[in-house]
């Protein structure tokens, strides 16, 4: 049994393993210290941050659906200044890569958040959330309009020397087009996917369950869709991909790696089992050893597509 090499590099960031936690599902990281050792993770992505704090949507904000959940949190967050003052100093004590997820209602707001974060000690990179479906001003337009996506990416690129990861929306006809726009505008890597827009109805009250009417679908239900989009983007661009969507186990991680992701993010699973991300690191390491796979990087893009017939 080999002890597999779990390291992977995305956007110039060296991760000790390919398992990161997804934005909005891991708070600011510190909430999880009861459940796992943050040092075990490849990295963590913060809750979406805006230049100023935000209060978010009225409740109800979450509801379960078959093998998934809808959320319409509305990007409630403490704002970049509080993150830099209260959270990042504590996160620096851990040996894991911290990535700030950033959004804005306008291009100027994106730019301002990136500028505030640039040069922050202990920050490994910025992930631009151009794809949150849950607020009118949450950047959805940037996620579905190629020109808008390219423009906001280019502006943010100028504001920061940090590695820049653009998180794509799945709610588009052709994600390859969006991937190319983000790359051309200077993205170092892409992460995908954010949630799919969905809706649940309380049939007795004849009302949407969520106050926001629609919400974002996450969880195992979306995994086959996310794996397909990862594979599609892999064909379209050469920059690294972080795969996201419904990952619950090491097997699921391997699916994304084979489809072309260089790392992954664990989202909803952390709500179900708070230690899920760290558990998956252990499970993945064992999975590789059992199969005598020396490096996790061997799996990246390793999907074989046999000729038809």
């Amino acid at each position: 049994m080999v002890t597999p090499d779990m390291t992977t590099t995305v956007a110039g960031i060296e991760f000790k393993n390919p398992v990161l936690t997804a934005s909005g599902t891991f708070g600011y990281g510190l909430e999880f210290t009861d459940f796992l050792d943050l040092d075990r993770l490849g990295g963590l992505v913060t809750k979406g941050l805006s230049a100023a704090p935000r209060k978010g949507n009225p409740p109800a904000r979450v509801v379960e659906t078959p093998a998934g959940m809808l959320n319409a949190i509305g990007l409630q967050n403490i704002g970049v200044p509080s993150f830099l003052a209260d959270k990042l100093p504590k996160l620096r004590e851990y040996d894991t890569k911290v990535i700030a997820n950033v959004f804005g209602a306008t291009e100027a707001a994106y730019v301002e958040a990136c500028r505030m974060l640039d040069g922050a000690e202990g920050l490994a990179g910025i992930e631009l959330n151009v794809s949150c479906p849950n607020t009118e001003e949450g950047g959805m337009i940037f996620g579905v309009d190629p020109a808008a996506l390219g423009h906001v990416t280019r502006l943010c690129r100028k504001e920061t020397k940090l590695p820049l990861i653009v998180k794509l929306s799945p709610n588009v006809t052709d994600i390859r087009l969006m991937a190319r726009c983000a790359r051309d505008a200077g993205a170092d890597a892409l992460s995908l996917v954010n949630t799919f827009v969905g809706m649940a109805i309380d049939v007795e009250r004849r009302r949407p369950v969520l106050a926001n009417v629609c919400g974002g679908l996450s969880g195992p239900a979306i995994r086959p869709l996310a794996v397909w989009l990862t594979w599609q983007v892999r064909q379209a661009v050469e920059i690294p991909i972080i795969g996201i969507g419904g990952i619950m186990s090491a097997r699921d991680v391997v699916e994304f790696l084979l489809a072309g992701a260089s790392a992954v993010q664990v989202g909803t699973a952390s709500f179900v089992t708070p230690s899920a991300s760290a558990d998956i690191v252990t499970e993945l390491s064992n999975w590789l050893s059992e199969r005598n796979i020396a490096s996790v990087r061997e799996l990246i893009g390793g999907l074989e597509v046999p000729p038809r017939g």
Binding site: G24, T25, F26, G27, E31, F32, D34, F35, K47, K55, G56, P58, P59, A60, R61, V62, V63, E64, A67, G68, M69, N71, I73, Q76, V209, G219, P220, T268, S270, F271, V272, T273, P274, S275
Partner: protein, 287 residues
């Protein structure tokens, strides 16, 4: 006067909030028993000594049903702590639940020995009324769940006001009758107690009493909690409400379980009831 009591309640609340933080445990336990109490109400028993040792009345668990295809865990208050229903030293815990949908439907089907994943203790729990202050409980139906453990923790025998749609929705009535100082019942169909809403006997009980001598603690459906808030806050009566909200995580990270509260800036804040609740002083609510 209103202000004085309100701030007392808020102060008590803050005291509770700065207690040293207890570690949240994530355990897999086996169902010890899952007793049907009629009308879709069940009393679920499992043992988890470490959790039982730390938990206080008003806190809750997130309970998962592995292998059921249900993704998220479900929140349930602790109903019985060791000593509430029986004296034992094995860390027995009880949950009183009602079948409402898919998750509770699966739970109701579990037999002895079935595995559960249990996360807890979660939330803040109730602030115990000072000795000499009479705890006045107001429970709507399954909202009675947290009161057995709380009854045992109170130094003064509480008054229980227990309301529900119908007799079958008062699963713990006998228990409260034998453990509370006084138990007043109201059902919407009049099948037991007086006919109508529980607020009617509550108002009668309050009549002429000095608000300094008692404190309200309520748990039940939102309209009931609103009605009680509207009675208590203007009258300056100390009042804690145990709230419900859809939850994904239960430990503060999804920001899903918020209720609108009065923010310091005078505007509405959204407060997570899984960490800052589920128990909030009535005057905080901005419904």
């Amino acid at each position: 006067m209103t202000g004085a009591y309100a701030s007392t309640a808020a102060q008590e609340f803050l005291q509770r909030a700065i207690l040293p933080k207890i570690m949240i445990l994530d355990k897999t336990v086996a169902v010890v028993s899952n007793e049907a109490l009629g009308n879709g109400n069940f009393l679920l028993t499992f043992a988890e000594p470490e959790m039982a040792a730390e938990m206080v009345p008003g806190q809750f668990f997130m309970i998962g049903m592995p292998g059921s295809g249900i993704l998220l865990r479900r929140p349930f208050s602790v109903c019985g702590l060791p000593g509430t229903f029986e004296n034992d030293s094995s860390g027995i815990l009880q949950v009183l639940y009602k079948v409402m949908g898919q998750g509770t439907g699966v739970l109701a089907g579990l037999g002895d020995g079935a595995p559960l994943t249990v996360l807890g203790p979660l939330g803040n729990g109730f602030t115990l009324p000072q000795p000499g202050v009479t705890p006045v409980f107001v429970a709507g139906g399954i909202g009675s769940a947290p009161f057995p453990a709380l009854t045992k923790a109170c130094s003064t025998p509480p008054v229980m006001l227990y309301g529900a749609r119908s007799a079958g929705d008062l699963p713990l009535l006998d228990w409260f009758r034998s453990h509370c100082g006084e138990t007043l019942v109201a059902t919407e169909d009049g099948s037991v107690g007086e006919k109508g809403l529980v607020t009617a006997p509550l108002l009668r009980w309050m009549e002429g009493r000095d608000p300094a001598t008692y404190a309200l603690i309520a748990c039940g459906p939102d309209p009931m909690l609103r009605a009680i808030r509207n009675i208590a806050v203007p009258a300056g009566i100390r009042c804690q409400l145990s709230l419900e909200a859809h939850m994904a995580c239960g430990f503060g990270v999804c920001i899903g379980c918020v209720v609108p509260t009065h923010g310091e800036d005078g505007e509405v804040d959204y407060t997570r009831i899984c960490v800052d609740g589920p128990v909030l002083p009535a005057e905080k609510l901005a419904w």
